[in-house]
């Protein structure tokens, strides 16, 4: 009977393709939009990944890493003096402008780190060496900077090349790997002191103090001790999760709460859902209506209602599986392309396909239920009335 159900489904090519198309579209819209949303949210915490440190200490009202209030220079020493803290170093993080040879400007994410310890330096240097950052006017740039800042040059930006940040010369001594920033600009590392020189007077500030715990003390304990001793806010830097004391989590929730981003993506997801539900349910219902006499004949001939319901469920879930599979494949192709180009941001957490699959199955269940309901109202005696 299952085979029969599938043959009936595949036999009606037009409706079969329509069902697949509807569920494909729903899957694609949901997965694609949510993955771009997740990618965008992930970009908001790139600085936390690029400037790796177990603890980020910021001014007490700060909620997210891209918008910090100034700390006092003495705060570095105050944090350092906490007994649970092994080390503490200043960090500057700010958006600056690079002037291109043709006179146009490009924004960059400038990071200034302690020149002695180089704490917060990029983790993977591709060309050059990290310690050259201590040389005069030295900067280390990421691969995106090579792409963005090469415009108008005879050859791509490379070691020894110079450019100007706010009219002050910067010389490339290293090229590194880095996660993309939320603002889309490349990351440029320099020393803390030089970062302040590159920055206009009004914007000069200590953005954060990064720190690490002494051995035997957990990151959370050290963070708590810093807060207690200094009155500043000490976030741990572990990655997005349940923990509100994590800077990644706090940053992402700040964007979710304070920007229109979730709503604009959510709208498309809801449209995807509605399109999926409308097309799938409407088409499947029409399919059941078309086959009502045949399904009724099966009922008269002694097929139990349970069996008939199973047939409809198998039909609905079959198109669900296929539509979801194709939709996921298309989203993956899109994601692969986006990752290749680096634009737009995409990130597909494992829960996304799983949840989308659940949504598609729910849509299919609804469609099947409509059909089952219609069929249940069909008296087997009706088959004699053509």
């Amino acid at each position: 009977m299952i085979g029969l159900a599938l043959k009936m489904l595949f036999g009606d090519t037009a409706k079969y393709l329509m069902l697949i198309a509807g569920l494909f579209l729903a899957t694609f819209l949901i997965v694609q939009q949510v993955s771009v949303f997740c990618g965008l949210m992930r970009w908001t915490t790139s600085t936390l990944k690029n400037v790796g440190a177990p603890i980020w200490v910021v001014e007490e009202r700060v909620e997210q890493v891209n918008e910090t209030n100034a700390l006092r220079d003495t705060d570095v020493a105050r944090v350092r003096s906490v007994s649970e803290v092994a080390w503490a170093m200043p960090v500057f993080s700010g958006i600056q402008r690079v002037r291109m040879d043709d006179g146009s400007f490009k924004t960059i994410q400038l990071i200034g780190i302690d020149s002695a310890s180089l704490a917060g330096a990029p983790t993977r240097i591709l060309e050059g060496t990290l310690i050259d950052l201590r040389l005069p006017n030295a900067v280390i740039v990421d691969e995106l900077a090579v792409e963005r800042l090469s415009k108008g040059r005879p050859h791509p930006l490379t070691l020894g090349d110079t450019f100007e940040i706010n009219d002050i010369e910067a010389r490339v001594v290293g090229i590194c790997e880095a996660k993309r920033s939320f603002t889309g600009g490349p990351y440029v590392w320099t020393t803390y002191e030089r970062a302040l020189q590159y920055t206009p007077p009004s914007r000069k500030m200590l953005s954060a103090v990064i720190a690490g715990p002494v051995e035997g003390v957990s990151v959370d304990e050290a963070a708590a001790a810093i807060e207690k001793a200094t009155g500043l806010k000490a976030f741990v830097n572990r990655g997005f999760g349940e923990n509100e004391k994590d800077f990644n989590t706090s940053t992402i929730w700040w964007y979710v709460r304070n920007t229109g981003i979730p709503v604009s993506f959510g709208t498309t997801v809801v449209i995807g859902l509605i399109v999926g539900i409308a097309i799938a349910c409407q088409t499947f219902y029409a399919f059941v209506l078309d086959n009502l006499m045949h399904l009724g004949a099966l009922k008269a001939m002694g097929t139990s209602s349970f069996r008939l319901s199973m047939m409809l469920i198998v039909q609905a879930f079959t198109v669900g599986f296929i539509g979801f599979g194709l939709g996921l494949a298309a989203s993956s192709v899109f994601a692969a392309g986006a990752i290749e180009r680096g634009q737009p941001p995409v990130y597909i957490p494992w829960i996304l396909p799983v949840a989308t699959f659940g949504v598609i199955l729910a849509i299919c269940s609804l469609a099947a239920l409509l059909g089952i309901f219609r069929l249940s109202r069909f008296e087997p005696a009706m088959v004699f009335r053509a």
Binding site: M1, G3, L4, K7, M8, F10, G11, D12, N291, M293, H294, A297, L298, K299, A300, M301, G302, T303, S304, S305, R307, E379, P380, A381, V383, F384, R385, A386
Partner: protein, 251 residues
């Protein structure tokens, strides 16, 4: 054909006693079956005839177990249908009844052999075994070479032969037909009726045919005449009278 647990029925396949059925309620209440009693025997073709709206289809549905009645008793092959409900009735139909519909009701998206397999699939026979049996029965109705075709490719008469094969494939003791020739021309009607006669006799099963079509009356062993919800007359047709489809049978 007698199936395992069938009680003895003394050649009475269907026994309808004092059945009443109404539709609607209040002002619009329609009393469709009025104290109907009727018997059908194994090995015979019983035709149910009468003017449109007199209740033939309703009575047939009651006998087939696809519709309940308000009062009276219906024994089919020893099963008291009036006391059976839901699942039991469904299983009863699957096992005992072959259905032939006016509009054939073949599933257009599957092949003839697959259509014919359906009653076996319903009874849980494997698809391959069902198909094998279906092809045998298709051979028997002269449609063996069309098993791979979809029903839409066949003429009306050919489709009804497929439907007959489907009604017989699970060897049901009772075959129920509502207007089986109404959609057929004279020639196809004759072919189909010849087939009916063979299957009814050969297998010792009962066949009940509802019809308007007076051209086919001569194929009946007995004819029950209905009018306004009552059986007004049951008579045996003359066995010496050689029936021919094209000739009108006087009545």
């Amino acid at each position: 054909m007698a199936t395992d647990s069938q009680p003895a029925t003394n050649g009475i396949a269907v026994d309808v006693r004092g059945v009443n059925k109404s539709f609607g309620s209040g002002e619009s209440r329609l009393h469709v079956l009025k104290d109907v009693s009727l018997q059908a025997r194994t090995g015979e073709i019983l035709m149910l005839v009468g003017p449109s709206g007199c209740g033939k289809t309703t009575l047939l549905s009651a006998i087939a177990g696809t519709m309940g009645v308000d009062s009276g008793e219906i024994d089919v092959l020893g099963n008291p249908l009036h006391r059976m409900r839901g699942g039991a009735l469904t299983r009863f139909r699957a096992k005992n009844i072959g259905f032939i519909f006016q509009q054939f009701n073949l599933i257009p998206t599957i092949t003839c052999a697959e259509n014919v397999s359906v009653p076996l699939l319903i009874r849980g026979v494997s698809a391959s075994a069902a198909k094998k049996k279906a092809r045998e029965v298709l051979d028997a109705v002269g449609m063996g070479d069309r098993w791979k075709d979809r029903p839409g490719k066949l003429s009306g008469g050919q489709q009804q032969r497929i439907a007959i094969a489907r009604a017989l494939v699970h060897e049901p003791p009772l075959v129920i037909c509502d207007e089986p020739t109404a959609a057929l021309d004279a020639k196809n009607g004759e072919i189909v009726l010849d087939l009916f006669r063979q299957v009814a006799r050969a297998a010792g099963r009962a066949v009940i045919i509802v019809t308007h079509d007076n051209r086919i009356f001569s194929y009946a062993d007995r004819i029950a005449r209905m009018d306004d919800g009552c059986i007004v007359d049951v008579h045996r047709t003359d066995p010496r009278e050689t029936a021919h489809f094209e000739h009108e049978v006087p009545h």
